[in-house]
Amino acid sequence: MLQVEKINTFYGSSQILFDVSLEVSLGEVVGLLGRNGAGKTTTLRSIMGLTRPKRGNISYKGKDIFGKPTYKIAKMGIGYVPEDRIIFPDLSVLDNLNLASKTSSGGVNGWRIERVFDLFPVLKARAHQNGGTLSGGEQQMLTIARTLMGNPELILVDEPTEGLAPLLVNEVRKLILAIAETGTTILLSEQNIKFSLKSSKRVYIIEKGEIQYEGSVENLRENESIMKKYLAVQGYDCANQRTN
């Protein structure tokens, strides 16, 4: 469904990604693991066209999307949940959601406001409140819900639990699993290995802008040296640093 081939991305003159390649198939949940600053966010931004890679190739459903403007990529059915949960603070929750509706034509699930509220009852209760008045966890949910309103077939989710209180972390994780169950394809960037291992079938590990490991979760589980080398193995890593 999504094919990323040897992309090289720069910020100014410093190179962030080196020949990053990855692949996501329809209906899969794929984990993108790595420490802070490893290049996870840049990879997702490169796919969305928010930061344009200098070289490489990206295709989605067989169509070349490399160098296309972000809004066209979004319209083709890729949703993006950024790590710093950018909601529109002076629009109501409802307006936040409506703004994103009817983006892509296909949509596997036909997400509508009612269904989104079913999945996120807390948002329904706060529908007319301004986005800025929500708590951090609620804002994260709003970001995810808003992306769903665009009926994406593939969602790029960037560290959805970073900076959230432990109780909320579980809730957000449950939501992501629930979305995955509806058949939506997900590329999930995470620092937290436990959750990735639980939600994903296949993972990539990125370090210093290069893909270091690619394989099934089972393989990774058996290979503790890789986990130790590239990942923060302790259960919870709440470093709140922006990942470039």
């Binding site: 720069f10 910020y11 100014g12 928010l50 930061t51 950024p82 710093d84 950018i86």
Partner: protein
């Protein structure tokens, strides 16, 4: 703004540099070219921005005179040639241009058509490089009157502020006496010219009509777009008469806004700069009748055949009637022609000797005279037209022209100079 912008990577973009170079080149095209034969006059003034008219109008007047002289075969076998450059209103730029004219273009004379700030600086170049300079726009009295400031190399064919105030006070005094205008107000621009002019006006009004009081004075900043608050304040205070030396676009804006309030129907208005052709021409809805104005150059002011010919020739060439600035620059070229003819050379020292006390026929002469004179001691032109008039709504927009005899102006001026210690 957007939460996730990153540092610019575009600083090195070459097109910005290219654009800058293209801009600089396009500016340079406007610079003059060099030729050896003719008598060259380097004209420096502001020709861009909102007082571009100062330079543009001056250059037109000088060029007309040059064309007329050249059509007759020039003077001492040589033709005149005018170089023009834009000072952009900056004294340092005006100085640079003036020096460039002398050093690089080797001009014979400089003509300075700029406002006082630049004019003071250009005058110093003339002193420094010993280059004859005609001042055609700056009206500040000290420029020629103050012995410490004036230079032996500069001459002025522009009106002088002190003459303007003497005549204004003389005229307003007569009207005030006749109509019993006791309570006065003023609204003038908040810079040196506005303050000096207004103070002197009231000083000379007092000489002619001691029986009045100033009940309010307003000083809007120059180029103020909106005078509504000033106008309502004046309406509230109900003076008998208002004096103003607002000029150009400021006086037109004031008049438009004041007309909407019916201000001119409720009090007498003395605007020294209303009758400038640019002001009258700009008032598309007609000129409010019954205002008193300084006698700015007009096709009928002075109402003489020579002036009519000058005005019509100017209009034939440029499509509009000349303004004060054109008229003053035109006269400056006439003076240079006559002086070069008399000296038989363009040698500056000799031309200066010829200019001092020189009397020539000029369209700007105040009737009944037909001539103007370059005063020998301070290099100031006298006997030019400087009167007052009343506005009417039809062209030529002014009527009841009143001139103060020059003998009396000079008497008052002498008293003023004595008081200032400039005699």
């Amino acid at each position: 703004m957007s939460g996730i912008n990153y540092k610019s990577e575009a600083i090195k973009k070459p097109w910005m540099i290219l654009m800058t170079i293209a801009l600089i080149c396009s500016f340079m095209i406007f610079s003059g070219t060099v030729s050896a034969e003719p008598i060259k006059i380097g004209f420096v003034s502001i020709m861009s921005g909102r007082v571009a008219m100062l330079g543009e109008e001056g250059a037109k007047g000088a060029q007309l005179a040059i064309d007329e002289i050249n059509a007759k075969g020039g003077v001492i076998g040589r033709k005149f040639k005018l170089l023009t450059r834009d000072s952009t209103g900056k004294p340092e730029e005006a100085v640079r241009i003036a020096r460039d004219y002398v050093v690089r273009d080797k001009v014979d004379f400089i003509m300075d058509g700029s406002s006082s700030r630049e004019s003071f600086a250009v005058k110093e170049v003339s002193r420094d490089l010993k280059k004859l300079t005609m001042i055609t726009a700056s009206e500040t009295t000290a420029n020629t009157a103050d012995p410490k400031i004036r230079t032996p190399y500069s001459f002025r064919t522009a009106r002088v502020a002190i003459h303007d105030s003497i005549v204004g006070g003389y005229f307003a005094g007569k009207v005030a006496k006749e109509l019993g205008l006791k309570k006065w107000y003023s609204i003038s621009p908040d810079y040196a010219y506005g303050h000096d002019n207004t103070t002197l006006f009231f000083e000379y009004l007092k000489k002619n009509y001691p029986d009045f009081e100033i009940i309010g004075q307003q000083w809007p900043k120059i180029f103020e777009p909106d005078y509504t608050a000033h106008i309502t304040k004046i309406m509230k205070d109900k003076p008998d008469a208002v004096y103003s030396c607002l000029w150009g676009g400021d006086i037109t804006a004031f008049m438009e806004q004041a007309s909407l309030y019916g201000l001119f129907k409720r009090m007498k208005f003395f605007g020294i700069n209303i009758a400038d052709p640019l002001v009258l021409g700009a008032l598309k809805k007609g000129v409010p009748a019954g205002m008193y104005t300084g006698g700015r150059y007009n096709i009928t002011m002075p109402d003489t055949p020579a002036n009519r010919t000058f005005g019509e020739n100017f209009k034939k060439k440029y499509g509009t009637y000349p303004s004060n600035w054109s008229w003053q620059a035109y006269t400056a070229v006439l003076f240079l022609e006559a002086a070069v003819k008399k000296a038989g050379t363009t040698d500056n020292e000799k031309v200066i000797k010829a200019l001092e006390g020189l009397t020539i026929e000029a369209p700007s002469a105040q009737p009944p005279r037909k001539t103007v004179t370059m005063r020998a001691n301070d290099h100031q032109m006298i006997y030019y037209t400087i009167g007052w008039a009343k506005t009417i709504s039809e062209p030529p927009y002014v009527t009841d022209r009143t001139y103060m005899p020059w003998e009396e102006i000079l008497k008052e001026e002498a008293a003023y100079l004595k008081k200032k210690g400039w005699d």
